[in-house]
Structures are given as C-alpha cells and as structure tokens.
C-alpha cells in the first residue's frame, strides 16, 4: 500500500469540509495508520510518570498529515472529529486484545493506575464495556455518544468539542453530564 502524501491528505480534508463524505473512506485509513504509529512510538519511549495525551497525538498527527498552509480553519475541526473516532478504535482494540489479562491491558494501566492512586481506586474503566455502552448510547442519542468520543477518546476540550460539532460549549457541557451519568450506570452494572 502506498502511503498517501501530505498533499493527498490535505486534498481529502478540503473535500471533506466541502461536504464530500465519500472521502472518509480514503482519509480514515491514513489517519488511523498515523495515529497508531505515533501511539506506539510514544509508548515505546514510555518513561516513569510519563503517559501520553491523546490531544497531543491528534495534534501531532494533524501537523504531520496536513499542509496547514492549504487548509482553512474549519478543516481542523473535521480532522479532530475523524481522529477521535480513530483513537477510540485504537484504544478499544488494544484493550480488547489484552482483555484476557487480569487488570486489562497496557493502555488501561496507562490510563488508570495514576488515577487510582489519586482517588481511591474506584474507577477502573473497562474500555471494552465503555465502547459497547457508547454504541448503545449512539442508538438513543447520537450526539451524546459523539461528545464522549471526542472528549474521552479524542482528548478534546469542551470548546474544541463544541467547535467540531458546531454547537455551543454550554450545550456540550449539558449533554456531557447526562451522558456521563448514564454511562456510569451502565458500566457500574457490568
């Protein structure tokens, strides 16, 4: 498989912003590949106390994949939307692959161990269960599911999430609290 050049990705992104959803099929594998490559490169260099931030991954992927002199401001939002979806797939796949291992996989440790120390070990997020619950949520309320994806998997801030979805920040906050409450219930019962 040939790796699409920066020029190609930029072109795809511009078309995506122009409303051409068809280009997603071409864009997703590239973004996915780049994110995965970056993620594992970060993980290999894992140092004590150093975990990694999805936002950084996404931004970095953006820098690498996109010619920023050629895209307009809102392309960025589109890219983040796509990237968050990809991050979810990477992380959940990873977690699924290690599900057999007790205490979850590498990613879960990364994401949870420090938090456990910090606040009493109650929140052991099962990413696979969360992924399933998010799919159920999407059937009820697609936007809330998307918000969780962008914020939790994509690491986007409330404002960035609002920008990606084209809604206001307070709307994101309200939707988020409902989604969070519901997901909490779903995961508690698994």
């Amino acid at each position: 498989m040939t790796i699409p050049s920066q020029h190609d990705v930029t072109r795809l992104l511009v078309r995506l912003t122009d409303g051409d959803r068809g280009v997603l099929d071409d864009l997703l594998p590239v973004v996915y590949g780049e994110l995965r490559r970056l993620a594992s490169s970060y993980l290999r260099r894992e140092r004590p106390g150093h975990t990694l931030q999805p936002t950084a991954l996404v931004h970095e992927a953006y820098m690498r994949l996109v010619d920023q002199t050629q895209v307009q401001w809102q392309n960025r939002a589109h890219f983040f939307g796509v990237a968050a979806q990809m991050m979810r797939r990477i992380l959940v796949d990873h977690a699924r692959a290690h599900e057999a291992e007790k205490r979850g996989g590498e990613f879960q440790k990364l994401s949870l161990d420090e938090n456990l120390d910090a606040s009493g070990g109650e929140r052991d997020i099962n990413l696979v269960a969360l992924d399933d619950a998010l799919n159920r949520l999407a059937a009820l309320d697609a936007q809330k599911s998307k918000i969780v994806e962008l914020r939790f998997f994509g690491g986007l801030s409330v404002e960035e999430t609002a920008e990606v979805l084209g809604v206001s920040a307070p709307t994101v906050k309200r939707q988020w609290r409902m989604a969070k409450a519901w997901l909490y219930g779903q995961l508690k019962n698994t």
Binding site: L52, Q53, W73, N115, R151, F152, G166, A181, G185
Partner: protein, 1245 residues
C-alpha cells in the same frame, strides 16, 4: 428504551440536576405527573450523576505535561516531539540544534548553540520543514531572510547568519530571545495601564522603523512580540512580511493574496487584508490597534459566532468593536489568562482587573475617553481614517500619557445618527426604548435560603414595572428579556436583538446579609455607558434598593423628573419587604410560563397577600394564575372561576390605577361570566392605564378574536409584538388570531417563525399543526402536533388536539385510541369537555361532540369563549344544538360575520340594499327570506376569509343561494364576482369560465345597485385583469371610489390598474391613500411594495417590504417582491436568503420550484435553473405553474424564443401576471425585440 423516552428523561433530568437537592423532589412530582417509571429513571440517573465523580473526565490516555504548540501565548518545550524530529542534534552551520521552540505553517524554529568552540552563544535557527520545500515556500523563506537582513533595530530580533544545509535547504540564524509573549508578560508582571502603554510605544517604534525600511510586517500579534526580562520587546517573525521596495517586487508579487490570507492570523488581520486589498503601513497600525485593545481590555475586539472564514471576514469588515471602556465589563470572550497562584481565579473579570492593578471603576475611568478614541482610531475599517503610521499612533499615546489633548476624535459606530445638539442622557422622547436584562448573580455565598436566582429576574422585573409606569419610554417586558437569564449575553447584542435604544444590565453579589448591585446603562447604538452605579443594601431591604436604582436610572434618561413621576417610581405596591420578596419570587416562577412555574407562583403570591392583605398586585397575580389555568384547561372551571374573579375584584378595589388588575378582571369576566360587554370595558380600561402592559394587550387580542373582530385583534397582537418582539406567547397570540381568522397560510408562516426561534415552545408547534391541518396538510400537521405533545407533555389538552388532527387526517383508529387514553385520564384529573367535543367533532361523531359541548356549558368551560370562531367546529355550525350552546355563550360573533383587512364598511349592507337613507330605493324582500339571504351572505363572507380554493367554492355556493332568494342583493353579487375572480389565483390551473362568471356576476351587481361601490370595484378589477381594458377599468374604479371614498379595496385595485398602465406616480399616490384608510393593513403595505417594484424603485420597494414584514412577517407575497427586487439589483446572496425563507414557509411545491428557477436564473446558475425549468414544463399537465412565470424565467435566462412562446401561451391562458406585461422589470431583456412591441400592440386597450 426509545429515543423519545430518552428525551423525556433528559428534559426532566437536566432541569432537576440544576435544582438544589431539596427542590428536586417536589419538582419531580410535578414534572413526572403519575409516571412512576419516568420518575424512577430520572432519580437513578441523578444518583449516578452524583456518584460519577470524575468518571471519564480524564481522557483515555491520561495527561502529561506534553504540549504541542497551538496556543499562541504559551511557551513551547517539546521534549517528546524532539525525540522524533530529525533536526534535533543536527549541526547546521556553526550551530548544534537543541530543541524546537516554535513552529509555523512552513517551518520550525529551534534553539541552537554555537558548536565551533569559538564562544558560547545561544541562537534561534529557522529551518524549512521537511517536505515543505516547494518553490513558493523557498521564495518566501528567502524573502524573510532578505527582509531581516535589512533591519537593525533594538526592538527587532536580529539576523545573525544564514546559509544552506547539507541537503540544500535554506536556513537562517537569529538572536535567541529568552522572554515571554507580550500579553503574558504584561499579565504576569501585573503591569498597569501606564506600564502597558510604555511597552506598547516601544513596539510602535519597532514597527515604525520597519516601515521606514519599507517593510510591512502583516502579522503583528502578541506571540510575535517577546519581552525579555529587562522589559524590552522584540518583534519577531517576518515570515509573511512584505517589502514595498519595487526592487524586490518581482519576487513577492508571486505571492498570491489568497495564500497570504490563509497564512495570516485572522484575529489580527485588517479589513483590507481580509478583502485581499493592497496593504500599507496603516495595515500594521490596525494590528497594533488590536494588540493595544487586548493589552488594555483583556478581550479580543471582536466576537465571533464561529471561526468560519466567512464569519470572520464579515465581523472584521463590518462590525465595530465595543469601546474598550465598555468591553472590560463583559465576562465573555476573555483572553486566556495565566494563573498566577495568588490573586483572583484566572479567566474571571476579577483577575483581569487585578492584573492591571485596577478595579472595574478605575480601569473604566482610565480607558474611557482618550484611550477609547486612540484605540478606535487605530481600528477604523477604512485605512485612510487610521493613524497613517505607527509613529503617529505612538505620538498620540505619548500625548495621552503626558496629559495633552490627543488627536484621535471620539468614535461613533457606523449608522449612529447623532445630531450635534443631542448629548447622551437627553434622548428624544419618541425614540427612547429601554430593556432591563435579568441581573446576574455573581456568587451566592451561604447563609441564604436557596433559589437566589429569583432575585436577578425579580429585580429586573420590578425595575421594568417601575420604569414602565413613567410612560416616558417603552420598556421591553420581562417575558422578552427572560431569554437572557442565566446566559452570559453580550448586553449590546441583546439590545440590538430587542431593538432598544438603551439597555440596563448588571450583577448582584450576595455576601451574607449584604447585597451589592452593580449596574450600567448602555447606549446600544453607540456602545457606550451612559450611567453606571453601585448599590449596597441590606438584603432585607430590597425595596429601598429598587427605589434608588429606578430613580437614578430614570434620572440618567430623563433630566428632569416631575414630582408625580417620582411618586410613580416609588410605587411599591406594598411596604412590607417580606411580602414584596414573596411577590418577586412569584413573578420569577410565573415568568417560566409552565405548569410547574404557575403552581409555584401561586404559592408565593398567596404568601404575599397573607403577609400584606392590601397587596393589589399580588391579587392580580393570583387572578392571572386562575385565568391561565382555566384557559389552558389545566383545572376545571368550578375550581378557577370564582377564585379568579374574586382575586381580580379584590385587586382593582385595592388599587383602581392598576392595569394588571383590570386586565385580569376583564379576562375573568369573559371566561367565567361570559359578559362580553363588561369584559371589553375592563380590558380597555387596563389598556388605557398602561398601554405597554403586554398581558393586557394579549387578553384584549384574545377577546377581540373570540368576537370575530379579527382586524382589531390582529392590530392588538401586532402592537403587543412591537412591545415584546421576543416573547413567545406574544407571537403565539398573533398566530392564534390569524388561525381563528382563517388566514391559515399566514398563520403557518408566522408559526414557523416561532418554532424556528423558539424550538422548545410547545404552543408554537401546536398552533402550527392546527393551521397545517386546516390547510389540508394532514401528515405534516400530525407530525408537528406530535412534537407539540412532546414539548407540552401528555396532558389531556395537548392529546386532544393530536387526536383531533389524527381524525382529520383520516387516521381514525389512532385517534380513537388516543381518545380512550384521554378519557381514562378523567379518573385522575380534569379533562375539558370542550376539548373532548373537539375530538368527537373531528371524528364526525356529532352526537358525542354535541353532548360534550352541552356538558361544557354546564360547567362553564372557559374555552367556550372560542366556540364562535373555532375552525375545528365548522362541520357542526348550523346544527340547532350547536347554535344553542353558542347562543348561551352570548358571543356577539354568533350574529356577526368576520371582517377582512381594509374591508369597506358597507359590507354590512342588507340584501335589500345598502343601509342608509336611500335604502328604500329597492323593494324589500319578505323579511324571513331576506334574513335567510343575509345569513347565506355572511356565511359566504366567512368562507371568503379562509383564503383557500375550497373556501372560495364554498363561498360562491352561499352567494349563489343568497341571490336566488334575493336577486337584487347587489353586495352578494359583487362578492360572488370577486370570489370567481380570485379563483384564478387560488385554483391551479384556473377553472375555465371563472372570469366569465365573475364578469357576469359583477354586471348583475351593478344592475342590482348602481350606487354600490363594491359592485363597480368588482367590475373594474375584472376589466383590467381579464379583459386588459385598462381605460374602462379606470372609469369603474374611479366610480367605486367616488361612491365610497373609504373603500380601501377599490383604491388598491385602482393603484394596481394605474401601475399596469405605467402611470407609476399616480399609482403610488393612490395606494398611499389606501394606506391612510387602513394604516396597519399588511395587504396594502405589500401592494405599495409591489407597485414600487414595478416602478423600478427597487430600494424603496425593499424598504417597504421590510415595513410590510414588520406588520406581517409571514407574508409570502412580500417575500416574493423583496426577492425580485434583490434579484434585479444583483444582490444574489440576499435574494437566495429570501428564497430559502419562502421555501421554509411553503415547502416543496411546483410554485416553489418555479421560484427557485427564477432566483437561480437571476443569480448566475443558469444550468440549474434550466434543469428545474424543463422539469416544470414537462410536468405542467400534473403540476400547474402559470405560463407567465415560465416566460419570465426564460426571460431571466436570456432565452427570448422560449420567453415569447410562453408569453403567447400566457395570453391564451389569461395568466394572471400578464396584467403587468407593460412594466414588469423582469422582462427587460425582451423589450428591444420587435416581437415584444408586437405583443404590446395586441395587449391592452
């Protein structure tokens, strides 16, 4: 779970979690009704919400201090990125690259150290990014290097070295500046305004120096100015700078402006940069202005709704920023702050003032005036109006610092009409309107009972009442400003939305027992503060607080208050602070306008009157509670009737000057006693006492509508809409009245406005569904009603409407099932028999319907007041039992026909001739025959007002029967003629012979009564529209006007006829006379617009369309004329915008597609227009479009052959638009053609 259920849960949940825990339980009881499952689901969800803590709050991969640079204000250590950057550790020239310190679109800047052992030196190396070495970028890179080489200034980062790397890429080396971006530096060092200005002047020096070297920086922004420890700035990044030196121009003209636009930072771009126009030193002055604005105010100058290029360009090129002294009080759009560890929390206004060593007051004083003017001069849209050089700007700031007079003049936003004699504080009376925004509660510290938010709304509400009582300015009512509650709205934007000249906004800070209220009064047009004040009061004495505030605000607006005005301002209604507080709480809940809010309001009002038994306003509130619950069928009348009347009577007895009391009394008198005369008296009294009391206007409008006095009702509703343009209930009242006036298309259009602006307002959807159903659009109606039910809850009231609409749609089974559900509800709650009757009636169960109506009368169901005009009962009209109930309600509408806008008074004439002295000219018909004929005539008129094809057919049938009984009934003949004429507009395709029948009837009308104005008007109308005998038409129409000078219809038609002949000035003068007769008639307003359009006075036509739309925002014809005019003027964006609105109103019909082809043809999309056009032509046998419209589209496309062949067809078919062939501007492309002269020769006499 279904998505619907989910939504239901969400609605309750979102409200509940915002409530303090102890209020949740009562709320859930109210909100869930008997739905225990719902309640359980919400409760569980709230528990989970509380237990969730920071579940999923941290992103899946937890944070680490790793920053990829996106924030222009942050510094940029990039440890991890360095690991994979091949430049790190590389040797470039004499330097070893250590780490990245910044990056842009095309390259990166690295910290490097001298590695040749000569001496230690840290430098910044700029490199082109891998893969970015295109010709264009390489050229720009060299350009920057060249520019830096020409610059040598202490405040500009110096070029030290440059060259080409081993792999052939250019690089250069600059001095490394260890410092902070200027904005951050100022905040971290807590620089005062004076210190900030000092620093800024140095930046001006640097920019001016560059200008002298003919370099325009083009990208001045805080992150490009670093300030080192010593406090000296250094200007960086000449990456997109432009050299004005012609010697180099060969290189840079290759730099396309569009690319440069993408490269610059939009927030700092000048309008000319956004527009792609040439740059000059004034361009950098503009960016300096933005920088100074930020340094002084902590805000960006512009508010962007989004970051789309279009929005940015619009805002930058069109909007004037607020004055800095005003902007500093806006808690919105604060620039990111840098937490300091001490001092107030960052990202708050408190922090903003603190890190400028100021308070809001001292900062405002410092900025107001000269500094405002200096900043605004730099930010002018027009480069020639700015400082021409950075040096000039620096000089003016120096003058300010030294206390000398500055050169910058005061700035007034564009469009402000300020005459020299007027000063702020002395606005002229007729243009003064004021809105008071709900006050913001800054922080409610403990010790107080919950529900502090009522105070913000309550205080605003009280100020509105008090200031409104002066009647010196128009106050927007509380219901209009509530939408800003709990929102950090920009007060000036709110002011513009509300259409007021002044806006009062402020905050309340509660600390223990003390209230601190900070307020400012802003001049909306000028964006400046007129008055500001701060009040500290013990929270127990809110009344004292209101006294002081309202007096000071009033004084700020009116220089000299009279003694009486002062007294009115001080009117409190009660002297007991505790009673007053209860009342305010009641108002707060009342204004939420939902069932729960009403219930809570009642509790507080009742407490208020128990504390102060003489509290008239609180009694009026109680009466309104019962009125509303009765009307919305929440409680049975047995429970509300006596209570409403009693409270209202008590209120007016206690205070006979209170509009609130009389309005409540008037409405209660009607709906509980059905005493129409007395009710009107009370409602009129309320309106005299306070014409701006919106609820009073609404009740009166309802009342007039019930009586079938639709013109008056619509006028009242529109008046209310002027006072309270944003209150949903007000718009709803207008829609409701249009609906009952059977103006369904207009009701639909207006209701769509409401559901668009207030998508969660259930009554809006409900009314829309009713009107859709009457217009025969049953599926849409049912769907819309479903939405209404969702929003209003499954109450018997909303469900009954849904069941009725299902029945009307022929979905009988579903309707019956729903009816059963409603009837089951009767066991637990009140179900209005009127509403049940409605369902039975639509199910064609007359027996069931009549039974319920009779029961409704027994219990005096208040909704019976609408029985006389409710379109849903039309199938029962004429049934003796129905008429009997109607008679009992004593509704004058029972014996009265509805009227139309601009109708002439002689429409009341009897079959035997017009009323008046000469009515004896015609032999009277036998009394009962005459009665019967008159009844039929009235029924006919009633159907005419439905304004549908079916209505016209029904009307014609009635008129036919009327003239059979009374052959000399001139008015019935005339109406019949008009109805036949109108068929040509309402029926597609027009039925054969409609015009012929019309003419025959008109001739009979004239024959029956030659002195009847209407008869001649009808004939004239036919002559110019059908026979195109304009001269003969003119004679008839003149005769009609002579016979009745007040016949506005005849004048309107006369004006149209004159227009068709090209006599535009006469036409305009005639339509203006019609307008004087019916000043608020939207039909005439639109006619004027149409005539102006045909006279090619496009701008006036547009202006007139806008006023017509104020009278009737839903008028389709007005939209069409507006769009045509835009099209003629080539204003394509506007034209397409209007078209989208039209499409939203009418949905997808053949006519809509014809309009679309029209606008596309005019706006440079001929291919798409042709496609639609050929489709329209192909399907014309099934879906009618007039031949004339097709001809016009051909003409707009420049297709003459097509146009002429369709014009010939239009002639054959008597297309209605053809009347204006001689003048229609849309046919201009054809006029030079000999075929057109030929056509005109045949056309018209």
């Amino acid at each position: 779970m279904t998505p619907e259920r989910w939504q239901q849960i969400e609605e309750v949940f979102q409200t509940a979690v915002d409530l303090p825990p102890e209020e949740r339980h009562p709320y859930l009881t109210l909100a869930c009704g008997g739905d225990d499952t719902l309640r359980q689901q919400v409760t569980t969800l709230i528990e989970q919400y509380e237990a969730a803590g920071d579940f999923i709050e941290e992103p899946a991969l937890a944070a680490l201090p790793l920053h990829v640079q996106t924030d222009p204000y942050a510094t940029m250590p990039l440890d991890l990125v360095a690991d994979i950057d091949p430049a790190i550790g590389r040797r470039i020239g004499a330097y070893l690259v250590a780490r990245e310190i910044g990056r842009g679109g095309m390259g990166a800047v690295y910290l490097a150290e001298r590695a040749d052992g000569e001496f230690r030196q840290r430098v910044a190396v700029k490199l082109i990014k891998r893969g970015m070495d295109t010709d264009f970028i390489l050229r720009r890179f060299r350009n920057e290097r060249q520019i830096l080489a020409t610059l040598d200034h202490q405040y500009i980062a110096r070029l030290l070295d440059g060259g080409t790397t081993d792999d052939g890429l250019p690089y250069f080396v600059m001095e490394y500046i260890e410092g902070l971006p200027v904005y951050r530096f100022c905040d971290e060092r807590k620089l005062t305004v004076g210190e900030r200005l000092k620093l800024f002047r140095m930046v001006c020096d640097a920019v001016h120096y560059a200008h002298q070297k003919l370099v325009i920086h083009r990208d001045i922004k805080p992150s490009n100015i670093l300030v080192a420890d010593g406090g000296l700035p250094k200007l960086l990044d000449f990456g997109i700078a432009k050299l004005l030196n012609p010697e180099f121009s060969g290189e840079i003209t290759l730099d396309p402006t569009a690319t440069a636009m993408r490269l610059m930072t939009p927030e700092y771009a000048a309008p000319e940069q956004v527009r792609g126009e040439p740059v000059s030193p004034a361009t950098d002055v503009y960016s300096l202005g933005v920088l100074l604005y930020e340094l002084l105010t902590g805000h960006r100058p512009y508010r962007l709704r989004n970051r789309s290029p279009h929005e940015m360009a619009r805002v930058i090129c069109e909007e004037d920023p607020q004055h800095p002294s005003v902007r500093i009080t806006s808690p919105e759009d604060l620039l990111p702050a840098h937490p300091s560890g001490t001092g107030p929390e960052s990202d708050t206004l408190g922090y903003l003032y603190w890190c400028r060593g100021a308070t809001v007051e001292t900062l405002r004083r410092e900025l107001a005036g000269d500094l405002d003017n200096i900043v605004m001069k730099a930010l002018r849209k027009e480069p020639s109006e700015r400082y021409q050089t950075a040096e000039e700007m620096r000089e003016d700031i120096t003058r300010f610092v030294e206390g000398r007079a500055v050169a910058a003049p005061p700035f007034f936003p564009a469009g402000s009409r300020r005459d020299a004699s007027r000063t702020a504080g002395e606005p002229t009376r007729e243009e003064t309107s004021l809105a008071v925004l709900p006050l913001k509660i800054v922080e409610s510290t403990g010790g107080l009972e919950t529900g502090g938010e009522y105070l913000g709304v309550g205080l605003a509400d009280a100020l509105i009442t008090r200031l409104g009582s002066l009647r010196r300015f128009t106050l927007r009512p509380t219901s209009s400003v509530l939408r800003y509650h709990g929102r950090d709205a920009d007060p000036l934007a709110a002011g513009r939305e509300l259409g007021v000249t002044y806006i009062l906004e402020g905050r309340i800070r509660r600390a223990g027992q003390t209230l601190r209220v900070t307020l400012q009064l802003l001049d909306v047009r000028e964006g400046s503060a007129v008055w500001a004040g701060q009040f500290d009061e013990d929270s127990a004495d809110v009344l004292q607080l209101e006294d002081s505030i309202s007096e000071q605000v009033a004084e700020a607006l009116i220089p000299q208050l009279t003694g009486g005005e002062r007294l009115r301002l001080q009117k409190r209604g009660t002297d007991r602070a505790d009673a007053y507080e209860e009342y305010m709480r009641g108002r707060y809940h009342w204004n939420t306008f939902n069932e729960e809010g009403f219930a809570r309001a009642l509790v507080h009002y009742s407490r208020a009157v128990s504390l102060d038994p003489d509290y008239a306003l609180a009694y009026a509130g109680i009466a309104d509670y019962y009125n509303v619950l009765g009307v919305y069928a929440i409680l049975p009348f047995s429970e509300t009737s006596a209570a409403a009347l009693q409270a209202a009577r008590k209120s007016v007895a206690l205070d006979p000057t209170l509009a609130e009391g009389y309005a409540a009394l008037g409405f209660a008198t009607l709906t509980h006693e059905f005493d129409w005369e007395e009710s009107e008296r009370q409602l009129r009294r309320a309106s005299e006492l306070n014409p701006n009391y919106v609820t009073g206007c609404l009740w009166l409008s309802f009342f007039l509508g019930m009586e079938g006095r639709f013109d008056e009702a619509l006028n009242g509703a529109r008046r209310a809409l002027e006072i309270a343009p944003l209150t949903p209930l007000v718009r709803h009242t207008l829609n409701w009245t249009l609906y009952h006036a059977r103006r369904f298309d207009e009701a639909i259009a207006s209701a769509r406005i409401l559901v668009t602006t207030e998508p969660t307002y259930g009554l809006g959807h409900l009314l829309l569904s009713l009107a859709l159903s009457q217009a025969g659009r049953h599926d849409e109606a049912v769907e819309t009603c479903g939405k209404a039910v969702e929003l209003l809850g499954r109450s018997p009231y909303s469900l009954a409407f849904l069941a009725a609409l299902l029945a009307a749609a022929g979905r009988t089974e579903e309707s019956r099932r729903l009816l059963e559900e409603i009837r089951r509800m009767e066991e637990t709650r009140y179900v209005s028999p009127y509403m049940l009757a409605l369902v039975y009636c639509r199910l064609s169960d007359s027996e069931g319907a009549l039974e319920q109506l009779e029961r409704a009368w027994e219990i005096r169901d208040a909704r019976l007041a609408w029985l006389g005009v409710d379109p849903q009962f039309d199938s029962l009209r004429g049934h003796p039992r129905f008429d009997e109930v109607l008679l009992r309600t004593k509704n004058p509408a029972h014996a009265q026909r509805p009227t139309t806008s601009g109708g002439a008074s002689s429409r009341d004439a009897t079959p035997s001739g017009r009323q008046g002295p000469d009515s004896g000219a015609t032999p009277p018909a036998p009394r009962d025959t005459e009665d019967e004929a008159q009844k039929l005539y009235k029924a006919g008129r009633y159907f005419v007002t439905r304004r549908t094809a079916e209505g016209l057919r029904q009307a014609i049938e009635r008129f036919e029967r009327a003239v059979q009984l009374a052959p000399r009934y001139g008015l019935a003949w005339a109406e019949m003629a008009d109805s036949y004429s109108f068929l040509n507009w309402y029926v597609e395709p027009p039925p054969d012979g409609a015009w012929a029948s019309a003419k025959q009837a008109a001739l009979r009308a004239v024959e029956a009564d030659d002195s009847l104005s209407e008869a001649h008007a009808s004939l004239g109308f036919i002559l110019f529209n059908y026979e195109r005998d304009f001269a003969e038409a003119e004679r008839e129409l003149r005769r009609a006007i002579e016979l009745n000078l007040e016949n506005a219809v005849a004048r309107r038609w006369h004006a149209y006829n004159l227009t068709a002949m090209g006599r535009h000035d006469e036409a305009i003068s005639e339509i203006r006379k019609a307008q004087q007769l019916a000043p608020r008639s939207p039909v005439i307003a639109t006619a004027l617009a149409n005539i102006l359009f045909l006279a090619r006075r496009f701008e006036e036509a547009e202006e007139q369309c806008r006023s017509a739309l104020e009278l009737d925002p839903g008028s389709i014809s007005t939209h069409i004329i507006l769009r045509w005019s835009y099209e003629m003027r080539g204003m394509c964006d506007d034209a397409l915008g209007v078209f989208e609105q039209e499409r939203a109103f009418t949905g997808d019909t053949p006519t809509t597609r014809a309009k679309q082809a029209h606008v596309l043809a005019s706006c440079g999309h001929p291919e798409e227009a042709r496609e639609i056009l050929s489709d329209l032509i192909a399907r014309r046998s099934q879906e009618w479009v007039t031949a004339y419209e097709i001809a016009v589209i051909h003409s707009r496309l420049g297709e003459r052959d097509g146009a002429f062949s369709w014009l010939a067809r239009a002639e054959e078919e008597h297309s209605v638009g053809l009347t204006y062939l001689r003048v229609d501007p849309r046919l201009d492309g054809l006029r030079a053609d000999p075929r057109f002269s030929e056509l005109l020769r045949r056309f018209g006499k």
